[in-house]
């Protein structure tokens, strides 16, 4: 089974998320955040989504490679569950980002290399989803989807990490020559909520992926039982 043998990580996820949500709303802000003002609290929701998404998609990529190497159906099911969860996480990150952008830049979408890269990357993963839905033969579907997943992950990394670094101008923090959150954080203690938030959100989505993988495996086992009964 794809069950993770530790139960405590679920409890840890709940505790860390409770801490993040409650203390994230109560924490006093640093004085020099400027126009960001109270919206900087979105840091605890928007940024962890992307960190967790990169981690989850990377693990899914490794599972895809492992599937092609030794053809265990279990690995592909885990990779699929992780990739779908990664897409969900990316969409959450996109929507929280649009909400943030609407309140600070004045529009939910701007012509920025980081945003455009993510949009293209999400369409790549939409292609992955389409392959999964459009092939009926299970083994062939698993193979094609794994190959496509192995293809798109390096391009996705190139799109959201390398391209914004190459771009001259970007208003999104953390790329090009724009502002960085390190410049704000000198006097304050926002990190004590930020790092637990990353761990908490990632663990929550790992939990979702685990449930999904277990469901798929049980479904497959049921089908096999029907087949050989």
């Amino acid at each position: 089974m794809a069950k993770i043998p530790y139960k405590w990580y679920k409890i840890l996820a709940i505790l860390l998320l409770c801490y993040t949500i409650i203390y994230g709303l109560l924490i006093p802000l640093p004085s020099d955040v400027g126009m960001l003002d109270e919206t900087i609290r979105n840091l605890f929701y928007h940024v962890p989504m992307w960190f967790g998404m990169m981690l989850i998609l990377m693990v899914a990529w490794i599972y895809s490679i492992m599937y092609l190497q030794n053809q265990y159906a279990k690995y592909e099911i885990i990779a699929r569950a992780l990739t779908f969860t990664g897409i969900l996480m990316g969409l959450c990150g996109l929507f929280t980002g649009m909400f943030w952008g609407y309140n600070t830049w004045g529009s939910p979408w701007t012509n920025d290399p980081k945003l455009n890269g993510v949009a293209v990357g999400m369409t790549m993963y939409a292609g992955y989803w389409l392959i999964q839905k459009s092939v009926n033969d299970g083994e062939k579907k698993a193979r094609l989807a794994s190959v496509y997943n192995i293809f798109i992950f390096p391009l996705f990394i190139a799109l959201i990490f390398v391209m914004p670094k190459l771009a001259k101008f970007s208003i999104h923090p953390g790329s090009g020559e724009s502002v960085n959150f390190k410049t704000y954080n000198k006097t304050n203690n926002m990190e004590i909520v930020f790092y637990p938030a990353i761990i908490g959100w990632t663990l929550l989505f790992v939990w979702i992926a685990e449930i999904r993988a277990r469901y798929e495996l049980l479904k497959q086992r049921k089908e096999n039982e029907k087949l050989f009964a």
Binding site: N136, R143, F151, P154, L155
Partner: protein, 230 residues
Amino acid sequence: MVCIIFVRKYIFLDLSSIPYTVKFFLKSEWKNKYALSSVFIHIFIAVLITYLSLPGIDKALFSSLFWLIVIFTTIQGISKSFLTMNKGHFLYWHQLLSPVEFLITKLIANFLLMFLFTIFSMFIFLVIHGLMVDDIFSFLLIAVVTGTGISSVFTISSSIAAKTDHPGMILPVLTFPLVVPLLLIGVKASKKATDGLGFITLLPETLILIMMNVLIVILGILLVKFIWKE
């Protein structure tokens, strides 16, 4: 480590049969002339539509419009060689060539076709919209290098799409997002060429394009045997 094992496996390939197979594919392209000429007519009509709807375009619009037309017209011409193959064709080629040899053959044949299409669309574009490119050799170089990358992405993704149940619908969705990184750099570089900034300014973009192309081809060669298995 894995890379080294793969490289050692693939570096001693027997490539002696490839020129003949490339020749065969090009000949079969030449045989059904309707398919080849329909791509040329498609390009011509697309350029004509852009001319009629946007009569006086400037240099900034020129290169983006050029690349839009190139990718939307050549996708049919490049991918149809895979999409029209049925299961029997695949089995036949499987007996004659290994998957890697087949992919290399297709990459070379499609590169030559793409070269032809790019030169033709550039010619038509320059004739209809007027001579807007200041540095025509740099533009040609960028067009060829980007065209190589685009044709290899088209080849690999159409080989994936050909195995799905509805290839015609899936193909554009699988292909266009993968082309975007190449296209972004290509558009940027060809804009520099239309402004005539000189070859030296294009050098970094050209190198990045060549490196991305090599990466795509290596990934394709490593993965093609999993796409091909029946």
